[in-house]
Symmetry: C2
Subunit: 454 residues, 2 copies
């Protein structure tokens, strides 16, 4: 078999890189559990009719078919999920009688989309979602809660002593605010106006204004006020006055302003020079299913990735006709962040194996003695491995060096010794009591910003 | 939307059950890392030609197709992997220049097979694999190593203070032993004889003997000796004498006997009343690609599941024509064990949420005060949540009870108190110092053997 080549859009990591990704996932899981979120997984497949409810992604769905199946129509109409929200909504409906509401869950799983691969966008990718779902009602303070939980998680990832992810801005807006403002201006097809305004990040403001006037039929003065609203942003609740100054009145606008102001104020204690939570009135993502709060997140220096973490409030996440399940959630693109970060910064683990210690081997006959040392270390939670062959000790030390294993253990009749191969220090040691420094117990994370990107 | 129904063969777990599964995966990962195995993940898809190299599973492969793709031939000939060995062999070849050999890796991922669902057999399932792969050569002691690592992992799962999985027998055999024995008997088509002998677990011995004589053309006396070999089993190396007593001589038989005896002897220290490692000369799995050691594992009381953990030695796990990569590995069917265990024993978590504490809410205005308590607890790694609404305290306690949260925290002007709702004990507490008993910090695992299966 010839050497295989990578598949575009299906990223795979080397062991030391995978350690970084695993650390990201562990950090997320730890944070979500501290906040009381329960972990679940859903199956990778959903019936096609479920997957096509979000119309715009239908072309990206991967259908399944059994190899020797007669029909080309797909296996019982199943496709791979393209996000974790559609499966979660189905899971809630299917298990509603066995869940306690409000139900907080996190879910870290792969999803698949057949879109054109580019930096941060893959055909197979890992998402980390948190959602809170209620039965019939879900008070607004849960919007604040999911925001705070995700900011907590991202802040931990941005800790230089952990992953050292760049700083970020969580940008929030509120659909009630936009819709109320548009209705206060007398507009009726608010969705159409939002769709045009959403082009502001790609087209010049004059072009968007021309489209609002010529295509959407707005008066020039109305179009100006629509565009003025979209320029408002603030890291505190001063945006309320800026909106009020535009002179539009509507009950829904009042509610949206109150909610957004409360959200920004409630996150003020989480903000630092690297962590920003800001009202950005241009954010208008997927407004066809969101009904209140909406989120996007930009990573400093990685703006070209687009939003790495998005979500919002759905007043009807799921419904079986009798009962409605409102939800609010936010989804982090784990692959979208990790893969570019690895490529651009050379982020990697300090070693390619979990082992903190290589137990050297004097000769093949003494393998049981070396294994006994390894067992004694493992009994005290110290990861280690025994050298594969009784090569010269210099060669065994180089074996450890190539993998980044910091310590080599020598089993000798006259007593055991352990060498820190970074410093050359070699000391007497007892496998029943010796412990490496805490920082050496697990691989660390290191980055060579100057490393060549691939 | 009507209430969705489960998809046969695609098991999903409730939050408290998922906690059990997560605990199983965490235990496996911890054990594998203690032994120096690095975690990797491979993409879910492989080119079809890769997937069809193991011929017998071709009919179970799920092909992918984009929804609006013209051709029904599948998306660039991609299918979902049906195990983790085929992707791992490909990963080794693709990354050989960047890996250090011998390369130890573990991999815990989902796989998919379109087979008929039954207890312990699913269309989507989680596997946990460990393999050691060498370049050009891989000494036999690595066969011993993977056996010991998996026995260590399964022993931890069988610990009543952890998952409390039933006891198990790891059954080992050696293809060189069987093949050498057959060749020593003068047989040439040894694969054909193995295929017939493999039917011993389904057909009476007389029927198998008749097949060996009538279909495979063996002399009755030769057939008897072939069948006698398959009845030999032992928990120590006494099987060597039993085989020798059959009076067959062959160099390959000698090698096989030496290897199997060494394996059984090397695992003797791991054996207990619940953990058995035994030579079983009837084991003959997938012998077309295994070249030495082979493993199967039976779970006590769950024999109907078949082997829960299988593998062996491949002298050519992968090859690019110039270099050959021999490997030895073993694969645990996580779903095959966990799903039946949950269903039959009612194994579940002591609570459905990670929270150890519910911080009660006196009124909506005091939410910030309750949140401050929660933040103080989380800063000391205590998972908690704030009550969703300022209901009567009795109702808030029942909210905690329904989720299994053991402690309720009351924020009061005159000082904080925390109640253990299992005992009713209520004491003064300071959020900066109070810590729950270690056993209450995370959900525990409990089992109601008598609980009704679903």
């Amino acid at each position: 078999m010839a050497k295989p080549t990578p598949l575009s859009g299906f990223p795979e990591l080397l062991p030391a890189q995978r350690f970084v990704e695993q650390q990201v996932v562990d950090t997320l899981r730890h944070t979500f559990e501290l906040h009381g979120f329960a972990g679940i997984e859903t199956r990778a497949v959903e019936p096609l009719d479920q997957l096509l409810r979000k119309g715009d992604t239908s072309k990206e769905v991967y259908l399944l078919r059994r190899l020797h199946e007669e029909s080309a129509e797909g296996h019982a109409g199943l496709g791979l999920h393209f996000d974790l929200t559609v499966p979660f909504a189905r899971y809630v409906l299917e298990n509603a009688g066995k869940l306690e509401f409000p139900f907080r869950r996190y879910q870290v799983q792969k999803a698949w989309r057949g879109e054109r691969p580019q930096e941060g966008r893959f055909r197979e990718f890992t998402q980390a979602d948190i959602d809170i779902v209620g039965r019939d009602e879900l008070p607004f303070h849960h919007d604040v809660e999911v925001t705070r939980v995700m900011v907590d998680a991202l802040t931990r990832l941005a800790d230089p002593s952990s992953i050292g992810m760049p700083g970020f801005s969580l940008q929030v807006n509120n659909r009630k605010l936009i819709q109320g403002f548009y209705q206060g201006l007398g507009l009726t097809d608010t969705d159409e106006v939002m769709r045009v305004v959403d082009k502001l990040d790609k087209l010049p403001v004059e072009t968007v204004k021309a489209m609002l006037v010529e295509e959407s039929g707005l008066q020039p003065d109305t179009a100006d006020r629509v565009l003025q609203l979209a320029t408002i942003r603030a890291t505190d609740d001063s945006f309320v006055k800026a909106v009020r100054d535009l002179g539009v009145e509507h009950e829904l606008l009042d509610t949206g302003l109150d909610e957004l102001a409360e959200l920004v104020r409630s996150c003020a204690d989480l903000v630092s020079d690297r962590v920003r939570v800001e009202a950005d009135l241009s954010i208008a993502r997927g407004l066809d299913y969101y009904t209140g709060t909406v989120f996007e997140t930009r990573l400093d220096g990685y703006e070209s990735l687009g939003s790495i973490c998005s979500g919002g409030r759905y007043d009807a996440l799921a419904s079986d006709g009798r009962t409605t399940y409102p939800g609010v959630g936010i989804s982090l693109g784990v692959s979208r962040v990790v893969v570019p970060l690895l490529a651009r910064t050379g982020l990697t683990a300090t070693r390619s194996v979990p082992s903190a210690v290589l137990v050297a081997l004097a000769d093949e006959e003494s393998r049981p003695a070396s294994q006994a040392v390894a067992s004694a270390l493992r009994a005290r939670q110290i990861p280690c491995e025994v050298a594969p062959a009784p090569a010269r000790f210099g060669k065994q030390i180089r074996f450890a060096e190539r993998r980044g294993i910091p310590f080599v253990w020598f089993v000798q009749d006259e007593g055991h010794q352990v060498k820190d191969i970074r410093t050359g220090d070699q000391v007497d040691a007892d496998p029943a009591t010796w412990t490496p420094p805490a920082a050496d117990l697990r691989p660390g994370i290191t980055s060579t910003e100057s490393k060549e990107n691939q």
